[in-house]
């Protein structure tokens, strides 16, 4: 790789040098294109394929062509550099430039000798919290604190805190996620430096403030995403599981669906039941006893476990069933969109004690990390985080448009003038031509026109 870099950079520098020294502007422009091409190549080496493409199309393709166009339009290829004024500028400028380069290069080079390795920067990890604990069920969920079991009477809000293991530095904390926050977004992930952390979670409901549920030591790798899933175990106590999310883009044409079981007493399966109407008829009474021909996508998932599958693009009717083939939840007309990463957590909905429990399959989206430097990567940042500059740049382009129109269209003002001249020409043509004959110029308009011979006079 070094030699490649060396060759390309030498070409770039030489091209720039040629650009500076060519007398013919067209040559200069062509050398600049070479230089830009080299830079585009360097972009490729720097993992920026998108920018490399933009560099070639916008810079080389558009801007430089514009330059060339104007040079040729004006016939200004060799506009005189001959005037000998201020020749010292080049020398003085070069001296300063070299001095500056020395200043620039010395510390960088010394640092480079010290540390050859690429500093990868801070590797980031991501974390989010999913709360699968419904409150309000007096018989059920309890949090164990100080040896007592306390019933949770209201919706549970859970928080997670990550503290650095080594230095106690705060890693991340996620505040007050409620059960009802059923639709989570990719932006719910919190970023923090990768490393080892102490994970602790607290819950609180309407009557109890912040009870510590547990704490544990976790190791979170770089470029990974994790989900803390809070659920209730068979004993009604709160537990958590740390799930590693697969955030790499799913295979082309598929979506990735991850199923997590948040039900203490059941092993959940996911099945694809062809026709919607049949399911509907099956479950009219609220109790779906058994299913007609179906395809099992995920089989018998125990509590707290997760399994990911890739679904092809298309419409599905999905059903979650337990080990007894009882249908817990049906997702009718489920659209599988390509590129989506989705997590479904099966959890019990809060309900009146004693009544038939109902279940929900809460959906959580995860983000898909696009490849570094890809159009997706740039685009994501561009249109959310940098929406203000995008807006400003849009206005700027409008300004450029208006400016070019204003500057390059003096004829709008001149039109009236020209009309006036033409009118006068029509009226006084014979007189004008006599004068023009003697002077060779149109004295009224100041424009040059060919000499007229007497025979050319108009007949009017």
């Amino acid at each position: 790789m070094e030699w490649l870099f060396l060759v390309v950079s030498i070409v770039a520098v030489v091209a720039a040098g040629m650009m500076l020294t060519r007398q013919n502007a067209v040559h200069s422009a062509l050398f600049l294109i070479v230089n830009f091409g080299c830079v585009a190549f360097l972009y490729l080496m720097l993992d920026a394929p998108f920018l490399a493409m933009v560099q070639v199309t916008v810079y080389t393709g558009a801007i430089m062509v514009l330059f060339l166009f104007v040079i040729m339009l004006l016939g200004a290829e060799t506009t005189t550099d001959a005037t000998g004024r201020m020749r010292w500028l080049g020398l003085a400028g070069s001296l300063v430039a070299i001095a500056l380069l020395m200043i620039f290069a010395f510390p960088i080079a010394s640092d480079m000798l010290n540390d050859e390795a690429v500093d990868g920067g801070d590797a980031r990890a991501s974390l989010r919290l999913i709360n699968a604990v419904p409150g309000g069920d007096e018989q059920g969920f309890r949090v164990l604190e100080m040896g007592f079991e306390m019933p949770l009477t209201d919706e549970v809000a859970a928080s997670v805190n990550l503290a650095g293991l080594d230095d106690g530095s705060p890693g991340a904390s996620i505040e007050a996620v409620r059960y009802n926050d059923e639709r989570a977004r990719s932006r719910d992930y919190t970023d923090f430096p990768a490393g080892d952390y102490t994970l602790s979670a607290t819950v609180s409901d309407g009557s109890y403030e912040s009870s510590d549920v547990f704490s544990a030591t976790v190791s979170l790798a770089a470029e990974s995403a994790h989900t803390v899933l809070l659920y209730q175990n068979a004993d009604g106590l709160l537990e958590y599981v740390l799930l590693e999310d697969d955030i790499h883009a799913p295979s082309v044409g598929t979506m990735r669906l991850t199923l997590v079981n948040g039900l203490a007493d059941k092993q959940v399966s996911l099945v694809d039941v062809g026709q919607y109407t049949t399911i509907r008829s099956l479950c009219e009474n609220g109790a779906c006893s058994s299913l007609l021909p179906h395809r099992v996508l995920i089989d018998q998932l125990p509590l707290g476990d997760q399994i990911s599958i890739e679904l092809d693009e298309g419409d599905y009717n999905l059903a979650f069933v337990d080990q007894d083939q009882t249908v817990l939840r049906i997702l009718a007309d489920y659209k599988a969109e390509r590129g989506v990463i989705e997590t479904r957590v099966l959890a019990r909905e809060p309900g009146v004690p004693g009544s038939q429990p109902t279940y929900r399959a809460a959906v959580y989206h995860a983000f898909a990390i696009p490849a570094f430097g890809s159009p997706e990567a740039v685009g994501q940042v561009l249109f959310i985080d940098y929406v203000l500059p995008v807006m400003l740049v849009g206005v700027l382009l409008l300004v450029a448009l208006i400016g070019v129109i204003v500057l390059a269209r003096p004829d709008a003002l001149a039109q009236a003038e020209r009309r006036r001249i033409n009118r006068r020409r029509r009226v006084n043509r014979p007189l004008v031509s006599v004068i023009a004959q003697q002077t060779g110029a149109d004295v009224l308009s100041g424009e040059y026109m060919p000499k007229l011979t007497p025979g050319d006079e108009p007949a009017d």
Partner: protein, 512 residues
């Protein structure tokens, strides 16, 4: 898949409401483009009126958004910062633009270059300034700076659209070209500086740079070097916009050649944008990082030297100018030096707030006074470009006593005589400098303002105490221009006499 927010989510999450003054102005201007397209020649006054109205709308929005007690908040995902600083400078920019627009119509009509695009460009340039003032990210600083500058390049060359080969058209063209070349040159430095700062800190967000910077400085590695050189280049790029020595060379030529209302506008808004960005970047992001000894930022020496050079050069060269616009150009360089003094003072730990407030009051005073002075100069200029010399205003007190009085007050304010806004600004700046331990700089400031009396008073003497040399000029005073002068005069006097007004307005400003 990437989830894009819905419009409603975007509006709430991005806190779009706090960017309203700027965004409304842009939106209004875009409407104005259509109005201008379809209004036709006989309704060409629609565009200037619409421009004034748009400024008013933005002004009202600004009053609502930046209510006195409003807290500092960010918007548009941390790109935009809405605080008292932004609100105050927005008002200054809007008033300046209003005055410039009021001045413009007569000038354009007289010069035969009245085009609706002029106002659109003016408004968009000001919108750029407003976003620059609120920029919380180096990228926004750069883009807003370009949005501020590029319309000014065009406007500087606006007289050349007549293309009649007249001297003024040539001058205007030359002015636009010079401004553009040097502006692009300095922009390149700015971008490179921003790149280096990004390389050192890993972020372009100004508050985040502040978080990272101390560690970078302590590391004393090449990252430190990037940061320092990057800071230097940022100072260069922004120093060019505010025209401080040695990045000032373009100023007199461009100011002279550009249409006078454009000169007036660029002498204010470009400086405001530049100084706001300098304050935000240096005081917010790069102050802590370079606190080398005794709570003094390492850039303080540099800024102080620049300020001193600017004060001396600006004031001294102004003495030998005969052309009023050129004189005002050098004077504006000098005034940039005074604001630079405040900036230097902000480099001492603990005095950032007072220095910032001083700078803001100075900017306010300078805005009113300078625009007023340019408006007076504009009224006495002739279509052929004559009448702009210092000898052409002899005896103005006789032919136009009120105009001469207004000019006198502007000159007094520029000198810094008490009971004018100029004094208030100078006082606050020098007080901040003294408080920050920059006594020498304050003394230079006082001395050079004594020098400045020399050339400002020459204008007054010429108007009042000399007989007219030639025939008196037919001064242009229409309602628009008169209003511009009146507003400027009122601002100069009100803020000069009722001191607490200005200091109360800025009392909540804090950017450190």
């Amino acid at each position: 898949m990437f989830e894009s927010p819905t419009i409603a989510e975007f509006v709430t999450q991005s806190n779009l409401a706090s960017t309203l003054p700027g965004t409304l102005l842009v939106a209004w201007t875009l409407l104005l483009v259509l109005v201008d397209l379809f209004a036709g020649d006989e309704r060409e006054h629609w565009t200037p009126l619409g421009a004034c109205l748009g400024l008013g709308v933005s002004f009202v929005a600004n009053l609502f958004v930046y209510a006195p007690a409003a807290d500092q908040q960010t918007a548009l995902y941390g790109m935009f910062i809405a605080d008292a600083f932004t609100g105050f400078l927005n008002i200054v920019i809007l008033v300046a633009t209003l005055l410039a627009v009021l001045m413009s119509r007569d000038y354009l009509m007289r010069a035969g270059i009245h085009r609706g695009e002029y106002y659109i460009l003016t408004l968009l340039s000001s919108a750029g300034a407003m976003f620059m003032v609120a920029a919380n990210d180096l990228i926004v600083v750069f883009v807003a700076l370009e949005l501020l500058s590029i319309p000014l390049y065009i406007l500087a060359a606006f007289r050349s659209i007549k293309n009649d080969g007249g001297e003024l058209a040539l001058k205007s063209e030359e002015s636009g070209m010079k401004y553009f070349i040097l502006g692009a040159f300095s922009s390149a430095f700015l971008v490179f500086g921003a790149a280096l700062v990004y390389g050192a800190s890993g972020t372009t967000n100004i508050p985040q740079i502040l978080e990272v910077a101390p560690a970078v400085v302590d590391a004393a590695s090449s990252a430190t070097f990037y940061l320092v050189v990057g800071t230097a280049l940022l100072i260069v790029g922004l120093g060019f916009k505010v025209a401080v020595v040695p990045f000032h060379m373009w100023t007199p030529d461009v100011y002279e050649g550009a249409p006078t209302p454009v000169t007036a506008l660029m002498s204010v808004t470009a400086k405001i944008g530049g100084f706001a960005a300098l304050l935000r970047i240096l005081v917010t992001a790069l102050s802590v990082l370079l606190l080398v000894d005794g709570g003094v930022a390492a850039w303080q020496t540099t800024i102080s030297i620049i300020a001193a050079l600017t004060l001396v050069l600006g004031n001294f060269v102004a003495i030998s100018q005969r052309n009023l616009k050129r004189m005002l150009a050098y004077s504006s360089i000098a005034h940039a030096g005074y604001i630079m003094v405040a900036l230097a003072a902000a480099g001492t730990a603990g005095s950032a707030d007072s220095a910032t407030q001083g700078a803001l009051v100075y900017i306010l005073a300078y805005m009113f006074t300078n625009l007023g002075a340019f408006a007076v100069v504009m009224t006495i200029e002739r279509v052929d470009g004559g009448g702009g010399n210092i000898d052409d205003i002899t005896g103005l007190a006789r032919s136009r006593p009120l105009l001469a009085m207004a000019m006198t007050i502007f000159m007094l304010s520029l000198t810094g005589i008490p009971l004018t806004a100029g004094f208030v600004g100078k006082f606050m700046v020098f007080a901040a400098a003294v408080q920050a331990g920059l006594v020498g700089l304050a003394v230079i400031g006082v001395l050079t303002s004594v020098v400045s009396a020399f050339y400002y008073m020459r204008v007054v003497v010429n108007m009042y105490l000399r007989d007219s040399s030639g025939e008196l000029l037919p001064a242009l005073e229409t309602v628009y221009v008169r209003w511009a002068i009146n507003i400027a005069l009122a601002g100069t006097l009100i803020f000069g006499i009722f001191y607490p007004l200005a200091s109360n307005l800025v009392s909540m400003v804090s950017i450190a």
